[in-house]
Each structure stands twice: as structure tokens, then as C-alpha cells.
Symmetry: C2
Subunit: 331 residues, 2 copies
């Protein structure tokens, strides 16, 4: 049964919840490191050859779930692996107003299997359907990203994010690092999501004047294979723009609050019809369609506030990207 009544956020100690998430993510990271040493990952396929799960994903999800149930028995829990088992077909969005933990026990499973260090544990917490606390721990690079509402975003609990306070490029997307992922849907026909994703990547990369005026000449195109870590690098300021579709609420929940607390904003990947003038809608957690822009300072040269700069960049991205299809029930 979905919880439709709004919950009073003041009833929650978000700092305590944050600290609990950080501690849990770090413990889970130790399991990840230990399991990586065995080099035997017992890979199981899910939807296709690139959609995989290992025993480690299941073990860590179970560990996190048990700990949450012990400390917060009244809270809901949504984890990638238990969700996927139960909801393999319909993929309904289940997040409601209840206090809910949304967890990806191992984001970047392909990376983990190949021992590429961009892999992490992502633990998010929502109230009224919005992320309000989260921790993402990448044990192989020993980086802990965390935040809770109005508490700021942090690297290793000591360094405030973003790492540098700079305006965003006035020629954006020129001058920006553009982060994107090829994803798991690999059908490549004219109406497929992959076709439209790659078409959009090319627009962002191509020189100014190219691609019928859509060339964005971004500073660089980066693909790490982990949505959670992509969002962490938006929070640090390394990635100016993250445009991605096809991942799920457990891939982005903790990242949402970390980016927001670092001054970033997140909206939909899909350009609205009147993209030049429409108000910028906040991203819907379960929409699978995300566009994140890093935090920035006011741009005095351009006489823009930081928010105006971010909104300008969003419209410049929307101008260059295709409309993708990732509908699901409940959103």
C-alpha cells in the first residue's frame, strides 16, 4: 500500500541518519574489497549479457537491509537486487511519502567484475519521495561522498563540495566536461534509445557550427560506468554536465542529495517542447531520465546568478539531445 500522506521531515534527525548511512557504506565497502580479493564473482545475467549481478551484490544488499531494519524498523527499504527479483517485469515505481531507504549495494557491477575501481555502494534516504540524505562509498579509491538536507555535501566527511568555486562556462557546453553512459540497452536502430543517446553525445562533442548548429564542442566526454559516481563527480565540480537515462532510483537517490547539497541541480534528460522558455522542472527520482548540472558561482561577466547560469546550460543541453523513451508504471 502506498503511503500518500505527507510525512513531517522535522520528525527525523537527518544528521544521525546521514552518519548511519556513512558508517554502513564504509562497512559494506570492506565486504566489497574482501570479495574482490577472491577474484571469483559468480556472475549471473539479468536482462542480457551486460546486465549482471554477482553474489557480492546480493550479500551486500542483505547486509545493508538487515542493519537498516535493526536500526530503523519502521522505514521502508528498496534495494536494487530485492526489487529486481520481485518486480522483474512491470518495473513499477514504488517510492511513496514514507521514510524509505533506497540502496544500490554495488553500483558499477561490470567495473567490479573487471576490477576497474569505479565501483561503489550507494545508500539513499527519502522522505515524501525526495532524497534527503545519502552516502556513496567507492572503496577502491577510498572516497566517501555524503550529504543530508541543509547539511552540505562532503568528500570523506572533511572536504566540502564542490571542490572549486567557479562560474560555469559562458559558452557552455563548450568548456564543460560532459559525462554520459552507453548503458545496457544495446539495440541500435533509428528509434532505439541507444541510437538517440549516441546522436546526442555526438552533438555535444562536435565542433561549434557542426551538426546543423548543434555542435557543442564540450571539453571532454567521459563514461565511467557508474551513475552514482558520475553524480559524485558532478558534486565535486569535475563533471559540469551529466546527461543519462535508463538507470534507476537506486542508482541516483544518494547522488541526488549529494549533488543538490553541493549546489547542483537535476532536471529531466528529455527536452520539453518549449525548451528555451519553459520553467525547469525538478527531476523525478523514478523517471530514469536525468540531467544534472554542477554547482557554480554567480557569473559576474554574464551578469547571471548561479541558478541562471545552470538554467542556461540546461537549455543548451536540451537543444542538443534527443527525446528518449524510458516510461514505466507509477511515474
Amino acid at each position: 500500500m502506498l503511503q500518500s500522506d505527507t510525512v513531517n521531515i522535522d520528525d527525523f534527525d537527518l544528521k544521525q541518519i546521514h552518519d548511519f548511512a556513512v558508517d554502513l557504506a564504509r562497512q559494506a565497502g570492506q565486504i566489497l574489497i574482501n570479495d574482490s580479493l577472491t577474484r571469483n564473482h559468480n556472475i549471473q545475467l539479468k536482462k542480457n549479457a551486460v546486465d549482471i549481478v554477482t553474489e557480492t551484490d546480493l550479500k551486500i544488499e542483505n547486509f545493508i537491509k538487515l542493519n537498516i531494519q535493526k536500526s530503523y524498523p519502521d522505514h521502508k527499504f528498496i534495494g536494487e537486487e530485492s526489487y529486481s527479483t520481485k518486480n522483474a517485469n512491470e518495473k513499477t515505481y514504488l517510492v511513496d511519502n514514507s521514510p524509505t531507504w533506497i540502496v544500490d549495494p554495488l553500483d558499477g557491477t561490470v567495473n567490479f567484475v573487471h576490477l576497474f575501481p569505479m565501483t561503489c555502494i550507494s545508500i539513499g534516504f527519502t522522505i515524501n519521495g525526495k532524497a534527503v540524505a545519502g552516502a556513496i562509498f567507492a572503496p577502491f579509491i577510498n572516497q566517501m561522498y555524503s550529504a543530508h538536507k541543509n547539511g552540505g555535501a562532503w568528500l570523506n566527511e572533511t572536504t566540502k563540495l564542490p571542490l572549486q568555486q567557479t562560474p560555469i562556462s559562458i559558452d557552455a557546453p563548450k568548456g564543460c566536461i560532459f559525462s554520459c553512459e552507453w548503458g545496457k540497452q544495446r539495440g541500435y536502430t533509428e528509434n532505439s534509445n541507444l541510437y538517440k543517446k549516441v546522436n546526442s553525445f555526438i552533438n555535444m562533442a562536435a565542433e561549434i557550427g557542426g551538426r546543423d548548429g548543434k555542435g557543442g564542442m564540450v571539453h571532454g566526454v567521459r563514461s565511467l560506468g557508474s551513475a552514482s559516481l558520475d553524480l559524485c563527480f558532478v558534486a565535486t565540480g569535475a563533471f559540469d554536465i551529466w546527461w543519462e537515462a535508463g538507470c534507476w532510483e537506486w542508482d541516483v537517490c544518494a547522488g541526488f542529495i549529494i549533488v543538490e547539497e553541493a549546489g547542483g541541480i537535476i532536471t529531466t534528460a528529455n527536452p520539453p517542447t518549449d525548451y528555451e522558455n519553459v520553467g525547469i522542472p525538478p527531476a523525478q527520482l523514478g523517471s530514469r531520465l536525468y540531467l544534472a548540472i554542477r554547482g557554480c558561482t554567480d557569473n559576474t561577466d554574464a551578469k547571471e546568478t548561479s541558478k541562471q547560469s545552470q538554467e542556461r546550460v540546461i537549455r543548451q543541453v536540451w537543444k542538443r539531445v534527443d527525446h528518449l523513451d524510458y516510461t514505466r508504471p507509477g511515474v
Copy 2:
């Protein structure tokens, strides 16, 4: 004047040269970290808006060059920045048989400016035009990759590479992580290198059966923005395949010996005409066209030696990639 006589490699203490390179790379890494803290990179453009140099590149190159000249006054030195200043137009390949240090003081300059941690110092050493020692240090993730001929490849001087001893996927490129870069040439017309690069990326990513039989369904597509670190992750085994063109000898020199000592092989990115049967040529350091395959164990299921497995993967990549144009004088 080019040194055409072959040099006797036995006259060199490669372990000592290796240790010197490691020490120098670590010291240079400290400069990189210190400069990153100022957050003021004074970016200068080179060929276009994405081909940049900072004061830090120049400072580190000078530091490395002076130290090499002090310890090895008879050796030649080729560094990205001093080379680029003198040879901006013709881009002639200058490496000959002489003992030569080939250095990228800061690989991943765009990453550095944005504080994305995939940035490194790359110090390679060649004799007779072949890389025989090298060190690559990524200070923001505190990883030192190094090797010298017949001495093995190492992470942080303590962990032997590759990290895991596994056969390579029998269905490769399916099951492989494919590493590639969008690069600095951003013209996108039917005969441009970017067009052909992206076309190749799509072939590697698309599902089996797609793209007129060229679909490779790789496990993942990764782009880090640093050729040197791409090669390090080939050496660890994380990246099964690295296919890249357009970078230079200083981007790959140290990486070549690190990959080779980790059991990997490197050939040309450009598919030969008779790609299914031709002998596999070793990559030419200055060719700007590279295809690296990670080290692997024999594949007993497929009754293949590791070398046969690697050569099979090379032909499977060649089947799927376009012929690129990166000619230059001297190669």
C-alpha cells in the same frame, strides 16, 4: 641528427632507470597536487578549445627535464610541451635509436583543470625506438604504475600486474570492457576521424546481430580522458581492449612497457586489408594508432594459448573498426 645505429640495451641498468623514473614521477605528482590546490590554472589553448596547456604542464615538464639532464646528461629528451612548441606544424616523429626519455608531464590536462582525478605524469624511456622502462603516477588516486623490460609491471611497486589471471572472453568483444576516447579532433563529417571513431564505438557496443553483423555487445564502454591511464587499466586487466588514435608517443610510451610487462600486446588501431589472416604487427610508438589487449591466461576451453586469445580479440576488433587517418612525417 637521427641516431641510426642500434644501441646495446645491455649497457643500461634498466632497474636503476625504472627506479629513477618512479621517484621522479612521484615528486612531479606532488607539484601537481600543490598546483591543484591553487585552483588557478591559467589555461592556454593550443590547437583548439579542447587542446590546452596550463602553467603546471610546463612547470612539471621543466622539472622532469632538468632532473633527467642532471642524472643522464647523454640521453635525449622529448616532452610534450617542449616538442609542441618547436614542432607545432610538421609534427615529425623524432624518436631514434638513442636512449631517449619520452615524457608527458601532465596527461589528462582537461581532467586536471576540472579536478577530475584521472590525471597523471607519464615518464617513458626508449632504446632503439622501443619503450623499455616507464612510470605513470596518478597522484589524485595515489596509484603508481611502473615497469621495465623483463622486470614485470607493478602497481605501487608492490602489487604485480595484471591484478587477476583470467582467460579472455571466448565471445570477445562480448564480455570485454572497451576503452576509447573521443579526442580533440571534433570535425564530424563522413570522412572525419571523429565520425569513423564513433562509428567504430557503436559497432563495439551494439547488440550481437546488429550493425550488419558488426555488433560486438561489449560489457561496457569507458572513456577517462587519459591515454596513459587507459593503458594502466589495460595493464591491471580492468580494460580488456583499448582502441585509440590521435594521441602521441608521450601519451603512450610508458604505458607501452607497462602493458607489455603485464602480458598485454599492442598493435595498430587500423585494420589491415587481410585482417583475418595477416600477422599481427607490433604497434609503432609514433603511429598515433593503437590497439591494446590485456594480458590473459591460456583459454583451455578454447584450446588457445594466451597469445592466440589476444590475437583472436585483435581480429575481432579490426572487423568492427574503421580505418583512421593520422599520418605524420617520420613514421
